[in-house]
């Protein structure tokens, strides 16, 4: 179990991380969510011991005596590798730097290259590969040392659907071994599908935290999902609606506390050709948007 207690980090005049606490159990995918500049990267860098927090503790299995650098695999948001070096050399270097033996790393490299259909590429240089394949090598490099904890920053950005599926399978295989994944992302749909637990931070403060289903329940209300033909900005003028997320042919609406669904439907039908009207628990996306807005107030 990874336990973060009151993590706090300030830079000149800015509180980057403000008393952040969370815990992640083995076998959990933890979503670290938040808008740009929320403090996600700083939190990750503190976890990786790249920067020192001003206050707070990070415990792994209840102890401070562990070398995070040897048990963590990290995939930064912006990708890059030594482009002029041989793939196998890069993987060996990054694996050995995690304190693993050469033979161990070699075996893992062969396994993953084969699994991702790249077994013949080991001796090629990184810059001879396509963008997508370079991304795959990068993901292998995060897994190469067989880490206990995997930190993934936007793991799917820049991947086509087929490679996204490959990476998703790698993530699930990893989590099935009873390990810990921290997933930092903006893609709420993805977080909703993959994460068991989330922490939503904004301006360094944690504004939501807990298992995903609990958060949705705790949010305690239902959102209105409507489908229809001529949906437009006019929806925002409805007095019953708090916020409206308008898409091509549907809208997710966050309702105010007191409303009568019958009246709302009648009003809508007077103005729009509604084909579907549904009340269900809010999406993570709308929870995210609402919470960030509320925390900003």
């Amino acid at each position: 179990m990874l336990k973060v207690i009151n993590l706090h980090k300030e830079f000149t005049n800015v509180v980057a991380v403000d008393n952040l606490s969370f815990e992640i159990n083995e076998g959990e995918i933890f979503g670290l969510l938040g808008p740009n500049g929320a403090g996600k990267t700083t939190t990750i860098r503190c976890l990786l011991n790249i920067i020192q927090p001003d206050r707070g503790e990070i415990l792994f299995n209840g102890s401070k005596e562990y070398d995070i650098k040897n048990i963590v695999g990290y995939l930064p948001e912006e990708r890059g590798l030594y482009t002029k070096s041989r793939i196998i050399d890069v993987l060996l270097y990054l694996g050995e730097l995690k304190g693993r033996s050469r033979s161990f790393v070699k075996e893992r490299a062969t396994y993953y290259l084969k699994k991702l259909g790249m077994e013949d590429t080991g001796n090629r240089k990184v810059n001879e590969l396509s963008k997508g394949n370079q991304q795959k090598i990068q993901i292998i490099s995060a897994l190469i040392s067989d880490p206990q904890i995997l930190i993934l920053d936007e793991p799917f950005s820049g991947l086509d659907p087929i490679n996204q599926e490959l990476v998703r399978n790698l993530i699930l295989e990893f989590i099935n071994e009873g390990k810990i994944i921290i997933l930092s992302t903006h893609q709420m749909e993805l977080a909703e599908k993959l994460c068991n637990k989330i922490s939503l931070i904004n301006k360094g403060k944690q504004i939501l935290y807990g298992p995903l289903n609990e958060i949705k329940q705790k949010f305690g209300r239902l959102n209105l999902y409507i489908k229809g033909k001529n949906l437009d900005e006019g929806l925002k003028n409805f007095s019953e609606f708090e916020t409206v997320d308008l898409y091509e042919n549907y809208a997710e609406i966050f309702l105010k506390d007191h409303f009568n669904s019958k009246e709302v439907l009648q009003k809508l039908l007077m103005k729009y050709e509604i084909t579907s009207f549904e009340l269900k628990e809010p999406s993570l996306h709308s929870i995210f948007v609402m919470s960030v807005k509320q925390s900003g107030k």
Binding site: T12, R45, L48, N49, I50, I51, K69, N70, V72, G73, Y74, P76, E78, R79, G80, L81, Y82, T83, S85, D89, Y93, L94, E96, L97, K98, G99, S141, A142, I151
Partner: protein, 413 residues
Amino acid sequence: MRKAIQVAKWEYLERIKNKSYIFMTFIFPLFIFGLALLPALLENEEDVSTKVIGIFEKNISVYTEIEKSLLEYKTRDGQPTYILRKISTDDNDINKVTELGSKLIKEKAIEGYIYLEKVSTDSFIVEYYTEKFAALKDIARFEKAINHVLTNERLKLVNLDPEKIKELTKSISLKLVKLSEKGKEKFETEKVFLGTFFFIMFLMISLIMSAGLLVRSVVEEKSNRIIEILLSSCSTNELMAGKIFGLSALGLTQIFVWIVIAISAGGPVILNYIQLQDFGFSLIYFVLGYIFYASLFIGIGSIATNEQESQSIMSILSMLVMLPIFLSSIIFQNPESKLGMYLSYFPLTTASMMTMRINLIEVSLVEKSVTLLILILSIFGSIWFSGKIFRVAILSYGKIPNISEIINWLKSK
């Protein structure tokens, strides 16, 4: 420590394959030695065939003496290199002489001709006419021979015996003997100067070269963000130490290769030109100086965020490194100078100044120990300094920091 060695190993093995490193290590010394040895090779190049040179004399007749004086030059098969052929016309009219001369040159009967006219007792017109650009070597030899003959002529005019004069005006060369604890030592100034100078040049060139590679590698790691992966695997100190080790190993490999090339190419000839009085201490200063500069460079180099910035930083660092070379002339002029002594205590110039001074003059053991201590402390200082900068710089992208930001980095705990 183990991780630092991993980093050093990677840096070393990746950089050693770099094309510009290979070029500088193997081609550059051949180029330098080529340049240095070329004039000597040309000098010793044997003459292949005999050349016929015309000579026209007016109011004087010394061509047999000139020819005799030129006899010292022989072709490969022992024939004289130059044979003089007297040119004359009926009335010795200058135009007619020119006409005849060019005709003979065109017919390839002569290579060119010397025009020698005595205007008064101590005034001569001496000119060499040729159609093509004459070899400098030939010109120099003609000049020497003619000077020799004309000087003798003048001496004879005042009834002096040229042989006697030569004997009486023979110059001496001053031999230097260095008195040291070991007793009397032969001391060949030029060789020691040259040896010391080469030693410092090696240090500087190799440093500039390796530092360039290093700064570029840090910029590459920053721009492709691999630095974040590295830092998730080892500490900044391990990363920096690894880079310093790797860089120093690269530089020392390069110098080792240069020495091997120098000795195998020039052999004992090189050793004849180069002499170090105190090789042991020179080596210690060299290695420590190298590590000092390398650790300083890694901090300064890490603030660059792109290729252009790294180049401007490199040019500043290169100037820093060249400083001792500019200052070296002061020491060569006067190894005892106070400035040289002060500069020995200034870390940036300690290694080079001390290398020069210990080879040229007697430096007390106290001074050696103090400067070595300064150098070692400076290494720790520059590692501290670079560590502070490196730690923040490698994670800041986008723009190069200004001085006040860097001062803030240094203050941060």
